[in-house]
């Protein structure tokens, strides 16, 4: 494990007025981190959108352990997705996908 960045998995609840797809979400997430921390910040964050459940409006994403605070602050600053009012709420953070699903997504 030495030299590897530890990962954190985030369960997010998306609140929006119109339907959004994965690329809209990615644009919003990357845009938020980029606005606050710049391109260098985005490159360090290691953001990856893993799953989007349109029916339940939740998203699972991954980021680096060291940039977790940065990502959480950026997600909280999102007020619109695809020019429509929206909000992103972090349901929980976990070190593994398995525990994230068990604790926050009721799997």
């Amino acid at each position: 494990m030495r030299g590897m960045t530890r990962r954190r998995y985030l369960a997010l609840k998306i609140e929006h007025t119109k339907e959004v797809n994965e690329s809209d979400l990615e644009n919003a997430f990357f845009g938020a981190v980029s606005r606050l921390f710049g391109e260098y910040g985005v490159s360090k964050a290691g953001l990856v959108l893993l799953r989007h459940d349109k029916a339940k409006n939740w998203v699972v994403m991954r980021c680096g352990n060291t940039s977790l605070n940065m990502v959480k602050a950026s997600l909280a600053s999102i007020t619109e997705i695809s020019s429509e009012p929206a909000a992103v709420h972090v349901l929980g953070v976990s070190g593994t996908l398995k525990s994230l699903r068990r604790r926050f997504l009721n799997h």
């Binding site: 609140e15 606050l36 605070n69 940065m70 959480k72 602050a73 997600l75 909280a76 600053s77 007020t79 009012p85 929206a86 909000a87 709420h89 972090v90």
Partner: protein
Amino acid sequence: MKKFYDLHLSVPLGNSELTKKMVRKAKLLGYAGIGISFSSSIPGEIVSDLRQLCKDVGIDLITRVDLEPKDPKDLLMQLRQYRRRVEIISVTSCHKPTARQAAKDRRVDLISFHSLDFKRRFFDSAEAELSANSLAALEIDMSHLLLATSYRRIRLLSHLRREIGLARRFSVPMVLSSGATNEIFMRGPRSLAALAYLLDVPSDVASRYLSENPLAIITRNRIKLDSSYVAPGLRVIRRSKECVE
């Protein structure tokens, strides 16, 4: 478990549907209490309806008034008018003398500033020292941080960081509030604490600004508003008819 309080929700009291949604959402987000601004022009039935709604939802309603006095004299007059009627008094000052008066008056609970009017942010070391002595807390309204974009947000972040640094140096209590005007701008306590990372406030300290500090203000003022309160350390325990010789 920690109880979180959002002392500033700008609920549109005329729009009962949105008010209900916002109160329910505050409960869902995990708040134990919400502060809603009232003014003397709001009809009594709206206030009692809101009180009932909060009771039904299971959230504590904290009555609040936002004062924007023209000068120190006006501030004193408004304080006399409202202090015995509401639980939280917040003062936004447009002039330095008014800001100084607000900072030294013990009847003021929160001092806040026009967020995007940077020339009217009067929180300097003198203001911080006065606030620390009078226990007035500095309110950091996160809605402005969400609404501002590009250069304005950059300037706001730098001003807030400087003010928070000063407040910490002089031990001025601080309170984080959402200032949300609709559901979209409402954030949970942990999200607000995460946003405070942008202001160099660690998340454990930020969560104190959302729980312990607001609770201390609410408790202090509720004791004072209680009918048995006389003066600090002095309260009525029995009245003449209840006294048995």
